[in-house]
């Protein structure tokens, strides 16, 4: 029984790995290239040639329905700790960044509107640093991440109530 389970696990993993490592296939027709018919009577070997076309795989970052489309990590009031609901966002992007070492991100920390501009900038920095540390702990090299703060200057929600403030206590992942 145990062996069967293990075997099943291995097969599933292998299938997953295979899915991961091979480029995503897109069921689009290959681009049609118009070419002028050859003027001279075609020879047998030329008319039977096949030039292969490979479609480009979609970068998962560009998939609007993919997990990487979620790029915001929210924080509690007066808190600078990544919440449980933000951990998957951190993990998904960490996974992408470790696989794509040429990609770099800005983590922009934000605060709600209450208090001074400069002190809020420093508090927003603490939020960005919390996300940065969580990502480096998952193996993302420092060189791919820059933690910065927008303080309270760029609120996502413009209201002056707890609902808006909760939206603005946030760190955003921005790909360069």
């Amino acid at each position: 029984m145990r062996n069967v389970k293990s075997l099943a696990f291995i097969i599933t993993s292998a299938a997953l790995l295979a899915a991961c490592s091979s480029p995503v296939k897109v069921t689009e027709p290959a681009p049609v290239v118009e070419s002028k018919p050859a003027e001279a009577p075609a020879q047998q070997d030329q008319t039977r040639a096949v030039a292969p076309v490979e479609t480009k795989s979609i970068d998962p970052l560009d998939d609007p329905k993919g997990v990487l489309a979620n790029r915001s990590v929210y924080f509690d009031f007066d808190s600078y700790v990544v919440r449980e609901d933000g951990k998957s966002v951190v993990e998904n992007h960490s996974g992408y960044l470790t696989k794509n070492s040429n990609r770099q991100i800005l983590i922009q920390g934000n605060t709600d509107e209450r208090g001074g501009a400069e002190y809020n900038l420093a508090l927003g920095q603490k939020r960005a640093e919390a996300v940065r540390k969580a990502m480096t702990a998952l193996g993302v090299p420092e060189g791919q991440i820059e933690a910065v703060s927008l303080g309270k200057e760029k609120p996502k929600a413009e209201g002056h109530n707890e609902e808006a403030w909760a939206q603005n206590r946030r760190a955003d992942i921005v790909y360069k």
Binding site: G116, A117, L121, Q125, L150, G151, E153
Partner: protein, 423 residues
């Protein structure tokens, strides 16, 4: 190439004209009066209608706005060398301001003024200025400065300027205006936030934080030449620039080590040197008047409080103790007073502290004050506040008696900073 330059110039000029028409018109409201107002009569300057500025009106408005004077309208006094001082004394005026304006052949204006004392029955001061049309307003402010100084003993601030940021949607503008909110000039426009403008001590440059690179970066902009220099663009956030009194250095807050700490840079860029050394937030550095200390905001005790340390770093002394949130320290030019924002009962309000005694005074009844700055003569504090849900600027005398409010018609106005005395 020459044609190209010309096109550029035309383009800029058109752009500037468009900017002028769209610019924020500041509206000033005054409330409260100073103690011991000095009664001073101000005459309409002879022939002042030839100049684009109604000189005597600007002088009167300045003096009234200061709260230090009770201004008496003296009508027109044609012969400034023969003022009936005893008559004005009997009308209650301690001093009389008289003057003339003449348009010169080259289009400039000769603005002459005399300050006469009815108490001493003599001339206290005089000033003869030759001003091109666009500076006639400035010449009036300089006269008001002279009247203020001769009658109160303190240098006037009417000819100084302020800088601030306006925001309308995604349009951010760093503007410079006269201290009375007039003569607005655009210094920088951007689609990203601009915060923390800070004047160089000579008044020709402004350091600020711009978000145009998707992160806070510190620039110094020469207001005359438009040249911009990056002062700090380290990894992380770069913010809170503040000039040393001699103009050679700029204190900044950088997060390059992973937490926001205070550094000092050369005012021409480069030469970064770390000054503070804590595990938390150290930000909002401000040089003391003698340039030997730096006041700053730190959360080392939990919430934000104001501290002071040597410009070379080392141990810091805590300065604020009342309340759990004290930020944005600003030091008066005589080094004796600290202006700051304190949160009390959920409201962010402007306070001033006498540094020798530690005695503090609340200067505002508002709920959301920010970004205080002293007038260069130490008598007034400019700050941003909220009025009817809209952001406005406010000025209060350090004794809390005289209050002014500057508003604009649309959008927000914030991050004000009072400029220095100019040569």
């Amino acid at each position: 190439m020459r044609t190209m330059n010309k096109l550029n110039t035309v383009f800029l000029t058109a752009g500037m004209l468009a900017a002028l028409s769209a610019q924020a018109q500041l509206r000033v409201e005054i409330s409260g009066v100073g103690s011991n107002q000095i009664p001073v009569a101000v005459a309409t300057f002879a022939d002042e209608s030839v100049s684009p500025t109604q000189i005597s009106k600007v002088i009167k408005t300045d003096l009234e706005r200061s709260g230090a004077f009770k201004v008496i309208d003296a009508g027109t006094i044609g012969d400034i060398n023969n003022v009936d001082l005893s008559a004005w004394k009997s009308k209650g005026a301690d001093a009389v301001v008289v003057g003339t304006v003449q348009k010169a052949a080259d289009g400039t204006f000769a603005v002459r003024y005399r300050l006469m004392s009815t108490v001493q029955n003599s001339k206290l001061s005089q000033l003869d200025q030759q001003a091109p049309a666009q500076f006639t307003r400035l010449s009036a402010h300089k006269i008001a400065d002279d009247v203020y100084e001769k009658l109160t003993g303190t240098r006037g601030i009417f000819a100084t300027r302020i800088a601030y940021v306006t925001q309308q949607g995604r349009s951010y503008r760093l503007e410079v205006a006269d201290a009375d909110g007039e003569n607005v000039q655009l210094a920088l426009s951007s689609n990203e936030p601009i915060i923390s403008p800070s004047w160089s001590p000579d008044g020709t440059k402004v350091a600020y934080v711009s978000f145009e690179q998707k992160k806070p970066v510190i620039y110094v902009q020469n207001l005359i030449t438009r040249a911009r220099t990056v002062i700090a663009n380290e990894k992380g956030s770069n913010s809170a620039p503040a000039w040393s009194p001699d103009g050679s250095r700029i204190a900044v807050a950088l997060s390059k080590t992973g937490n926001t700490q205070i550094y000092v840079a050369n005012a021409t860029g480069g030469g970064l040197r770390r000054v503070s050394n804590s595990t938390g937030i150290d930000t909002e550095p401000q040089f003391s008047a003698d340039g030997q200390s730096i006041y700053f905001t730190s959360d080392r005790s939990g919430g934000p409080q104001i501290y002071r340390m040597s410009v070379n770093g080392g141990d810091a002394q805590r300065v604020t103790f009342t309340g759990s949130y004290n930020i944005s320290p600003r030091i008066s030019s005589d080094g004796k007073s600290l202006a700051y924002i304190s949160r009390r009962s959920g409201n962010f309000q402007l306070y001033v502290m006498d540094l020798a005694s530690g005695q503090e005074q609340r200067l505002s009844d508002n709920t959301n004050d920010q970004a205080p700055s002293f007038a260069p003569n130490g008598k007034y504090i400019l700050y941003s506040t909220e009025s009817g849900g809209r952001k406005a600027l406010a000025v209060v005398s350090v004794d809390g008696r005289v209050k002014q409010r500057l508003t604009i018609q649309a959008g927000a106005i914030k991050e004000p900073t009072w400029g220095p005395f100019m040569k």
